[in-house]
Amino acid sequence: MNKDKRNIMLTLVALVVLFGVACFAQTEIDSYVRRIINLCLIYAIIGLSMNITNGFAGQFSLGQAGFMAIGAYMVGIFTVPVNLRADVFYATPMHPWLVNIYIPLWLALILGGVLAAVVAGLIGTPVLRLRGDYLAIATLGFSEIIRIVITNATSITNGALGIKNIPPLNDVRYIFLVTAISYIIITLLLNSSYGRAFKAIREDEIAAEAMGIGLFYHKNLAFMVSAFFAGIGGGLYGALLGTVDPKNFLFTITYNFLLIIVLGGMGSITGSMFGAIIVTAGLEYLRLFDEPLEIMGVAIPLFRPGLRMVVFSILLMICVLFWRHGIMGTNELTWEKILNFVKHPLAGFRKKGVQGK
């Protein structure tokens, strides 16, 4: 098919151009902004991963924080240089089996994703039989359990002290590449027959089953793939921060990704990308609410740490109440739409009948 080939070419070109931008950003932009860009990219991976279960398979899961934690700790435990470990594990020494094992970041990312997927598989067996709210509560609970297990496995994870001295990775090129690969794999999966099966389950479980789509297999598949990419995103997150700490993976962080997919559109891959940019950048700019504000010498009492989250929650509520389909709904930004827009920038505003000519 010709159009498909053209679209693949265009996507590749776009990725190469964006990678060029990433290289430029790496050398020309200050580290604070780079950090925000990297956070955008990481949030895009995790948002996308959450969209697989929640947007495509229609299973309302809130377990992302837990799967992220697994990935992040895989990076934390194994990528700290061996000679720095004694400093990190100063209270309880690291388990002797682990203390000399070093794994390069790329491998730790993959292993973190795999472990997250395995855990998801184990959790999924009982949990994915639940529906709607019950599934949300159960996954939220499991996410907290993962965090608590991590907090208590002190000789492996350094417990509540967290793991510092992870070689920091504020590298736009690296994180961009991982994001791009994740994006491509997820897109290919969701556009395959398996992705269609996910959508069928979202639309009508009973009909999907009657059409021969095994509910358990496909829900579990979506859940595990989702956890895999959340684990990878979590690993990058740990590497970006240079430290992992159980408090980073409180269930509240999952709401960021929920906002990303709701804002971008549940069931839209490109939507999640836009959502990630808006939410990450938004959270950053909303920081000004956390700082004390004085107007003509009078301190406005509301402006204090914590207000940011209040504003954030209100935005989430408004979005859910009035704008349920988000930016994209279940649609995608396709090359057809972009090319059409380039050719006839105003066509969208004209009457439909004119467009054909």
Partner: protein
């Protein structure tokens, strides 16, 4: 001898105190069109749900024979496994994938025969590509045959009601069934549409070599195309026979008239 495609043996379904289906013994032979009729709440849909695995019967067995000489007890199997074995169905209150296109609705029904793993599918390995092409070609042929090709990009829920019923049948056909169960396919249709549907059911039976088991209230349709009819009332089978026998059956007339008196 003609093969028995489906047989229920003493199938009973109880919901709490309600016995929705009581000791149902149905035999459906290859290439037949069999109708299941009865007043509202008689247990017809429940019988379908017992056969397709939506419910597990409280008692009795469902036996399915997909081919000469092979027989399987499908009682309580998962609906998806039963579909894979060759039993497809439609629903009384249409259950299309509403927000998806007509084309996708039918394409999804091809997924059950996919052999490629999700890894092969994601990586678009040659084996998967071939399968995907074959699925798409099949869907195209099917949609063209039933005149739904022109509306393939419409949302399923935007089709007129009658077309939605057809689409649901086509989606079931896409699974390549042996046995097709239709739950009130003519519901909401006017006499003209009903007679078109009658022809359509016959056509697909011959064209796809199907055995058809259907629930229907439109008596013209039932009497015209059924080889045999089973009549349920309050879960009990009160009569079986060919259309003429059923039309003249005292108990059947009573069951239907009784319903009228109550109303």
């Amino acid at each position: 001898m003609i093969r028995t495609v489906l047989r229920t043996e003493h199938v009973t379904m109880q919901f709490g105190g309600v016995i929705a289906v009581n000791d149902l013994n149905i035999v459906v032979k290859e290439h037949e069109i069999i109708a299941l009729i009865g007043p509202n709440g008689a247990g017809k849909t429940t019988a379908f749900n017992d056969i397709t695995g939506v419910y597990t019967p409280t008692k009795g067995r469902v036996i399915y024979s997909p081919a000469e000489g092979s027989e399987a007890d499908i009682t309580g199997k998962k609906p998806s496994d039963i579909a894979k074995m060759g039993i497809a169905r439609t629903f009384q209150n249409i259950r299309l994938f509403k927000d998806l296109s007509v084309y996708e609705n039918v394409l999804i029904a091809k997924h059950l025969h996919l052999k490629s793993s999700f890894v092969a599918a994601t990586l678009r390995l040659p084996g998967y590509k071939k399968e995907e092409e074959a699925m798409r070609a099949d869907v195209e042929r099917l949609l063209k045959e039933v005149n739904l090709w022109d509306v393939r990009n419409e949302k399923a829920s935007s089709l007129p009601y009658g077309k939605q019923r057809y689409l649901e049948i086509v989606r079931a056909l896409a699974t390549k069934p042996q046995l097709l169960l239709l739950d009130e396919p003519a519901a909401g249709m006017n006499p003209k549409e009903t007679s078109e549907l009658t022809d359509f059911i016959r056509q697909i039976r011959d064209r796809f070599n199907l055995t058809i088991f259907m629930i229907e209230h439109h008596m013209d349709l039932v009497m015209e195309i059924s080889d045999r009819i089973y009549v349920l009332d309050f879960g009990n089978t009160i009569a079986t026979g060919n259309p003429t026998e059923i039309q003249n059956n005292e108990r059947v007339i009573k069951a239907y008239l009784g319903e009228d008196e109550d109303a």
